[in-house]
Amino acid sequence: MLSAARRSSFLVRTLTTAFFVLYVASIVVSGLAFPLDYSRGFLLFERGWFMFNRDPGWLSQMRVYGQLEEGRWIRVDMRRWFRYQAAFESLRYNEVYRSPETVSALADYVCRNFNHESSSGQRLSAVTILDVSWPLVRGRHRYLAEVSDKERLYDPLLQNHSCESAAP
C-alpha cells in the first residue's frame, strides 16, 4: 500500500510526512512530560518508561477484612476470586495501584461478590483494607508468613468502607 504511495502524488507524501512529524512531536511532548512535570504522556508511548524506575525496598500485600452483619470481623480470602499469581507473593488484586479510588473499587468488588455468594446473616456490611509491607533481604525471597511481626508495617488504605455503596 505504501509502496504505491511512494510512487504516487505529492499530496500523499506530504500527508505521510505530516503524520511522521506529528508522531515524533507527540513522542517528544510525552517524553518530556515527566522530566518537566506536566503529565505522564500519551498512554501508548509511556507504558514502558516507568517500569522499574524506582523500588521502595519493600514487598507489600493487601489484606482485606470484612465485617459481617452480626458485627464480627473476618479476613476475606481473596483467592476465591483471584488466582493469577502476578508476582512474588502477589495475586492480581495486589497489583492495584494504591489510590483511594482504586482501593474503594476493590472494596466494592469484594462486598458485591462476597454478599452474592453468602446467605443472609453471613453477608458483609463493611470492608477494611490494609497494606502489609516487609523489607527485602539480599539473596532470598521471603514470604510474608516468614516475616516476624516486628518487621511488618501496616498501612490502612481504607477503613470501614460501607458495603451499601457497592451496587449489585
Binding site: 500500500m1 511522521f20 501508548l44 524506575n53 488466582r83 512474588f88 507473593e89 492480581r92 476493590l106 539480599r138
Partner: protein, 315 residues
C-alpha cells in the same frame, strides 16, 4: 530511483525489500499467540465481568463464555497474522480484540501490551503480507500478479522510532533518579517481586559496585547506544549488545514477552532490509530476484495465453 530523493526523504521513503517486515509480522503473530495461550486459563479473571477490572472499558467486560470465545478468536486471528492469510483483515481483528482486552483489564497490564497494539496498527498499513504469507502463496498458485517485493521503508521507520523512544525515555527517567545511578534501585529490583530466582541469588552475590556498574550499563545502552541503531557502522554491535541486554533481562526479571518484542525488533526491524534479504538468500541458497522474475515471466505467459483464447480481453 532512490538516488534522486533528498537524503531525508530517502531515509523516510526509500524502497527496500519487504522481507524483513514480513518476518517481523510472523514473529509478532507468534508472540501474541504464545501470550494469549499463557493467559487463556485466566481469561475469566482477566477479562470477564466476573473479574475485577479498572480499565476504561471495565463496565463492558463480557460474560465468561463470551470472554472465552473472544480469547479463542484472538488466538485464531493472531495465527492468521502469523501465517499471513487474509492478512489485513486478520491484523485489524487481532488489533481490535487485543485493544478491547487491554482496555478492560489494565491491572495486569504490561508494557509489551501497548507495543503489540502500536505494531499491529502500523503493520495494518504496510505490505507485510507481500512475502512469507499464505496470501502470497495463493497469488502465485492462482497465477495472479504477486505484490511488489519492495516497499517504502516508511512504516518500518515508524516502528523503529517507537522502539527507540521506549529505550530513550525509560533511560531518561532512570537518569533522573540518583538511586538508579548509584545502583540501589537495581539491587532492590533483583531482590524484589519481579525478580527471578537467578536475580535473587545474584542480589546476594554481587556487591553494590557491581550493581552501580550494571546500572550505568543499562542507562548508557538506553540513552546513548540505542539511537546508534540508526548508524550503519556500529549497528551490528549495538544490536548484539541489545540482544544480550534483553536476554539478561528475561533471565533475571519476570517481564513477560517484553524482552522478546525488543529482540524481535532488533533482529528484523533495525538491520538494513537489504541485508536481511541477502542473509535470507544465503540461507536458502536461492537468488530471489531471479525467482521473482521467473514468476513474472510465468504470469505474463499465462496472461498472454488467456488473451489468445479470448480476444475480447485484449481491450
Amino acid at each position: 530511483m532512490n538516488k534522486k530523493l533528498h537524503p531525508l526523504e530517502q531515509w523516510l521513503y526509500e524502497e527496500v525489500p519487504v522481507d524483513a517486515l514480513c518476518l517481523y509480522r510472523i514473529g509478532l503473530g507468534m508472540l501474541i499467540v504464545v501470550e494469549c495461550l499463557l493467559r487463556l486459563p485466566h481469561t475469566v479473571e482477566f477479562f470477564s465481568n466476573q473479574g475485577f477490572h479498572l480499565g476504561p472499558l471495565a463496565g463492558l467486560a463480557p460474560a465468561p463464555l463470551a470472554a472465552m470465545t473472544l480469547s479463542f478468536a484472538l488466538i485464531f486471528f493472531a495465527m492468521m497474522v502469523m501465517a499471513g492469510y487474509l492478512t489485513r483483515l486478520a491484523l485489524a481483528i487481532t488489533l481490535g480484540l487485543w485493544s478491547y482486552f487491554f482496555l478492560v483489564d489494565m491491572i495486569n497490564e504490561k508494557a509489551a501490551h501497548s507495543i503489540v497494539m502500536v505494531m499491529l496498527g502500523f503493520l495494518l498499513f504496510s505490505d507485510c503480507d507481500a512475502r512469507f504469507s499464505v496470501d502470497d502463496w495463493l497469488r502465485r498458485r492462482r497465477q495472479l500478479k504477486r505484490k511488489n517485493g519492495r516497499t517504502s521503508i516508511f512504516v518500518q521507520r515508524l516502528m523503529q522510532v517507537y522502539f527507540l523512544q521506549g529505550y530513550f525515555f525509560s533511560g531518561l527517567v532512570k537518569v533522573m533518579n540518583p538511586d538508579w545511578i548509584s545502583g540501589v534501585v537495581l539491587q532492590r529490583i533483583f531482590m524484589g517481586r519481579w525478580a527471578t530466582p537467578l536475580a535473587v541469588k545474584l542480589s546476594g552475590v554481587l556487591g553494590s559496585t557491581a550493581f552501580h556498574l550494571l546500572s550505568l550499563c543499562v542507562i548508557i545502552y538506553e540513552t546513548i547506544l540505542s539511537p546508534l541503531l540508526w548508524v550503519r557502522s556500529v549497528r551490528a554491535a549495538v544490536i548484539i549488545a541489545g540482544i544480550c541486554f534483553h536476554l539478561t533481562t528475561s533471565l533475571t526479571l519476570h517481564v513477560g514477552s517484553l524482552s522478546w518484542h525488543f529482540i524481535l525488533a532488533l533482529v528484523f526491524l533495525f538491520p538494513d532490509p537489504r541485508t536481511v534479504r541477502r542473509v535470507l538468500e544465503k540461507i536458502s541458497g536461492q537468488d530471489w530476484t531471479l525467482t521473482n522474475m521467473n514468476h513474472i515471466v510465468q504470469f505474463n505467459h499465462a496472461l498472454a495465453k488467456s488473451r489468445r483464447k479470448d480476444p475480447s480481453k485484449n481491450h
